[in-house]
Amino acid sequence: MRFSLTPKRKERRVLDLQLTAMIDIFSLIVIFLIKGTVFGVSDLSVDPTLKLPESRSKESLDTAPTAQIVGDRVVFSGSQSPALAQGVPIAEITGGGPGKAGLQSEIQNYLGKIPAEVSGSGTLLSLIADRGTRYSQVFQVVQFFRESGFDSVLFVAAVKEGSQ
């Protein structure tokens, strides 16, 4: 048995910050954000020479490859071939030619890589063209890509000023 002759001094308690809960939460948030983020979905690289048509539609962009009409050529973003980087003349895809076969092959490669659960709900294509493009060219490109395997074509437009 110990005896204490002096009055017991109060122990000085240091206030420690409880960081465990905060670290738990932030770890979870980081994991979910990393898992839930899809990079590059809404990236649209529009040719600087194009002036997009304006629309009042408020629909957002979907994840889809693009077909871009630049001048009298069409450029497919899903193409891996350097030979098709500059696009294929529209006259070739309607009239036939080496560009048409090459582009069709690239489209088939692209569509073949899409997982079945994604392609099952329909394969989309975004069409980008200048507002002054003739309807005949737009129709020919849409027809070509529809026949090549794309189920729906989405027309990309800029939001009209004052429509928001």
């Binding site: 005896f3 048509p53 002054g132």
Partner: protein, 179 residues
């Protein structure tokens, strides 16, 4: 005097620190709720393939609604817009507008059509070859509010339909339901 003798140590019951666990599960629930998508799966059983004849007199025939747009004249900035349909009471409407008012006029035109045929949802949209892409977008903006399903038709077919309409107008043979 009380402090003279040391107090006997109290029996200390260890408490489980549940705060971080609750924090964590609250966060998990929040994220799960936000990230969950609910799908309704349905099963469609198709009948065996056979030829059937629709004898229901209440089912109206398809209207085959067509909206075609073309240049009014060679040197003119005006556009000819024609909305036509077939069915039990076929008809057509034809106007000339500038591109600036194309969307509004198409919306009005489609609105009048929708009053007559509220169940119709599909329109075939076509333009003559020289019409600008901007006009297509404007026409779609005007039509989509009432006619959601838009199918593009070829410029050749659109030009033919515009030409036949013009010939019919010149011959003063307007159809019964035209406005």
């Amino acid at each position: 005097m009380d402090d003279f003798f040391e107090k006997p140590e109290r029996k200390h019951i260890r408490e489980l620190n549940l705060v971080p666990v609750i924090d964590m599960f609250t966060t998990v629930i929040f994220f799960l709720l936000l990230s969950t998508s609910f799908y309704a799966f349905t099963k469609l059983t198709l009948p065996p393939s056979k030829v059937s004849v629709n004898t229901d007199p209440l089912t109206p025939p398809p209207l085959s609604t067509k909206l075609v747009i073309g240049e009014a004249q060679a040197q003119s900035s005006l556009l000819t817009v024609k909305l036509s349909w077939v069915g039990e009471s076929p008809g057509e409407e034809r106007i000339e507008v500038s591109e600036a008012e194309l969307e509004t006029k198409v919306r009005e035109m489609v609105g009048r059509f929708h009053e007559k045929f509220p169940a119709e949802r599909t329109v075939q949209l076509g333009m003559s070859s020289g019409v600008r892409y901007q006009s297509l977008i404007l026409a779609m903006d005007g039509a989509r509010e009432k006619l959601h399903d838009i199918v593009l038709i070829s410029p050749e077919e659109a030009a033919t339909r515009l030409a036949t309409a013009a010939a019919a107008t010149d011959g003063s043979s307007s159809k019964g339901a035209s406005r």
